[in-house]
């Protein structure tokens, strides 16, 4: 496992805020020889990794390699066939209040007639039974919702129907919903997909800033690493049931990816520092962009 390089200062800041016992010693996420079988397919084989508090991890890999499976493992929605998944030192389980989650977006929000503010509020008490009667608790919730909406910069359109908003605006509100419960771990599944290039950059910056300010650990599934380079600490590359973790320069190399794919893969850099992963299969022929040198 490759050592983390740039996130140490961030880690100290979050330790002070988080107020849990032996933070520095205990990883936020620990996968110990985890295998996942879905149907007849091995998605993950004996994968181990450890993520520390305050880290910003970007999970990359070809389609169907098990990127979303990683998030579902951490959420307790998928049970590993072997191995152990720990979150904050405890086995992964459903409904963990320390986790905020933004799933991969579908087209289902397009017709949503409910305003963004109500969607965000569900992040606080949507899992509780009953109607939630008006009172002091509700007013306090409304205040928390206001603050989070302000923090993601969605105040201008939080009272409009979600279906009327642009992809980037929706993504901000969903981020607010995930953050409103004050999570310590944020799981984001392709939050930059279907955003235009400029929104991708802006949203990536926003996620990075909010995570830093709040000391939240982030695992973000992405297709393109480029907009996230200034925010991320380490890259988690998932392919063919295997997992490699480290900085982009360490992980996205000809040797590492060839080993991961178990096939000849070539990583090519252009003169602007962009990296292209070129393989024999079409599955690994999507571009990754690395830090400009």
């Amino acid at each position: 496992m490759i050592e983390r390089s740039s996130s140490d200062s961030r880690l100290e800041g979050s330790d002070a805020r988080m107020n849990t016992e032996n933070d520095s010693a205990q990883p936020v996420i620990e996968l110990d020889h985890v295998s996942v079988r879905l149907g007849a397919r091995d998605i993950w084989r004996e994968a181990s990794l450890s993520i520390a508090e305050g880290e910003f991890i970007v999970a990359l890999g070809p389609n169907g390699a098990g990127k979303s499976t990683l998030l579902r493992l951490l959420l307790g929605l998928v049970t590993p066939s072997t191995g152990r998944v720990s979150i904050f030192g405890e086995p992964a389980r459903r409904g963990n209040p320390y986790i905020g989650y933004v799933p991969q977006r579908r087209t289902s929000e397009a017709g949503m007639s409910v305003r963004g503010r109500d969607l965000v509020a569900l992040g606080i008490d949507g899992h509780r039974w009953g109607v939630g009667l008006p009172g002091a608790a509700r007013r306090q919730h409304a205040q928390v919702v206001d603050e989070v909406i302000e923090a993601v910069g969605a105040s201008a359109y939080a009272d409009r129907a979600v279906g009327q908003l642009s992809g980037g605006e929706r993504q901000r509100l969903l981020l607010a919903q995930a953050l409103v419960g004050a999570p310590r771990l944020l799981l984001l599944d392709e939050p930059l997909a279907s955003l235009d290039v400029r929104s991708q950059g802006v949203t990536a910056q926003l996620i990075g800033r909010l995570a830093r300010e709040r000391g939240v650990t982030v695992v973000l599934v992405a297709h393109d690493v480029n907009p996230l380079l200034s925010s991320l600490d380490r890259v988690l590359y998932i392919a063919h049931g295997g997992v490699t973790i480290g900085s982009p320069d360490e992980v996205i190399t000809t040797e590492r990816l060839s080993a991961l794919y178990d096939a000849p893969v070539e990583v090519v850099r252009d003169r602007r520092g962009r990296i292209f992963v070129v393989g024999l299969d079409e599955e690994c022929a999507h571009p990754h962009v690395a830090q400009e040198v």
Binding site: G95, P103, D118, L119, L122, G126, W129, V131, A161, A178
Partner: protein
């Protein structure tokens, strides 16, 4: 109280039943309402209509939110088979209605929200169930009235006992919805996040289908199997277009369902056409008016924006 022919006008029925003499509609609405409530069958009809409208308004909001309107429609058809089957074996049609709709609702809920091609499956079952209903009807010869009442509603023939049953079923439905309100809303809007937050989305889906089945069974008595959309979907669909706040939308949906039902009953009291016709027509008209008004508003806004850009 059962009328021998459900298609009778109320004026005719009232005179036949030997009630107070009927005076024609006047613009003194207070006197009109007083006259309407002189008749026990109208009192029962208003009571049942009110309960059903409230339940349909609340449940309908989630039907629209969860895109279950076709499932609701199918439930009513399955209920038709149940009701006719009950008539054949000499049981109460309402009991047959309840058993079949709730059973089918539980079945659909167990299939889950993500079953691919579910609409096709529902449609296939729906057609078969209507066929079964026809068979049961033919077995029970000479009872076309019953079929008519089930298909198109027969609120004027509702008995005090039926009102009581409707009331109890309505209270149970509303209490259950209140108990699962927040997680149901969460699961309806964003199933994946709700599941991750520990909301039992699958279980809630099954529970809601059972509640929908209850609501459908109640609404069938007012508007019948074929016209269930008018109460279960139209008011909620209008409300959803008018507000973005779930609580307001539910209240609005209830208010619309009540207004549509009351107006339909009152007009049908004076006009020689079926209640169901008026209820469905008012519901449709309300929907058209709202859509039309919104289209005009959007066009005006677009024009204003254009002028602003030009200026």
């Amino acid at each position: 109280m059962a009328l021998s022919l459900p298609s009778l006008t109320i004026a005719f029925a009232a005179s036949r039943l030997g009630g107070p003499a009927l005076t024609p509609f006047s613009w003194n609405l207070f006197a009109d309402v007083q006259q309407i409530f002189q008749y026990a069958f109208m009192r029962n009809a208003f009571a049942a209509g009110t309960i059903v409208a409230i339940v349909a308004g609340v449940v309908g909001y989630f039907v629209v939110l969860r895109s279950l309107s076709f499932a609701g429609h199918a439930l009513s058809h399955i209920g038709f088979a149940g009701a006719t089957a009950a008539v054949v074996v000499g049981a109460s049609p309402v009991a047959g209605l309840l058993v079949f709709t709730v059973g089918a609702g539980l079945g659909m809920g167990a299939l889950g929200k993500r079953i691919y091609g579910r609409d096709v499956v529902i449609g296939i079952v729906l057609a078969w169930m209507l066929g079964l209903g026809v068979l049961f009807l033919s077995l029970y010869t000479g009872y076309a009235t019953e079929a008519y009442a089930l298909l198109f509603g027969e609120i004027l023939g509702i008995s005090q006992r039926d009102v009581l049953i409707t009331l109890i079923a309505g209270i149970i439905t509303l209490l259950a919805i209140a108990a699962i309100y927040r997680p149901l809303l969460f699961a309806s809007l964003d199933e994946d996040v709700a599941e991750a937050r520990g909301v039992p989305v699958r279980w809630l889906g099954v529970a809601f289908m059972a509640l929908l089945a209850l609501a459908v069974s109640e609404a069938v008595q007012v508007v019948g199997v074929l016209l269930i959309f008018a109460l279960l979907v139209t008011p909620a669909a209008i409300a959803e277009r008018l507000t973005t706040r779930p609580e307001v939308a539910i209240l609005l949906s209830v208010a619309l369902a009540l207004g549509i039902t009351w107006a339909g009953l009152a007009i049908a009291f004076y006009a020689p056409y079926p209640v169901s016709f008026f209820i469905t027509t008012i519901a449709f008209a309300a929907y058209v008016v709202v859509r039309g008004a919104q289209a005009i508003r959007d066009a005006l806004a677009a024009r204003a924006q254009q002028t602003a850009v030009v200026a």
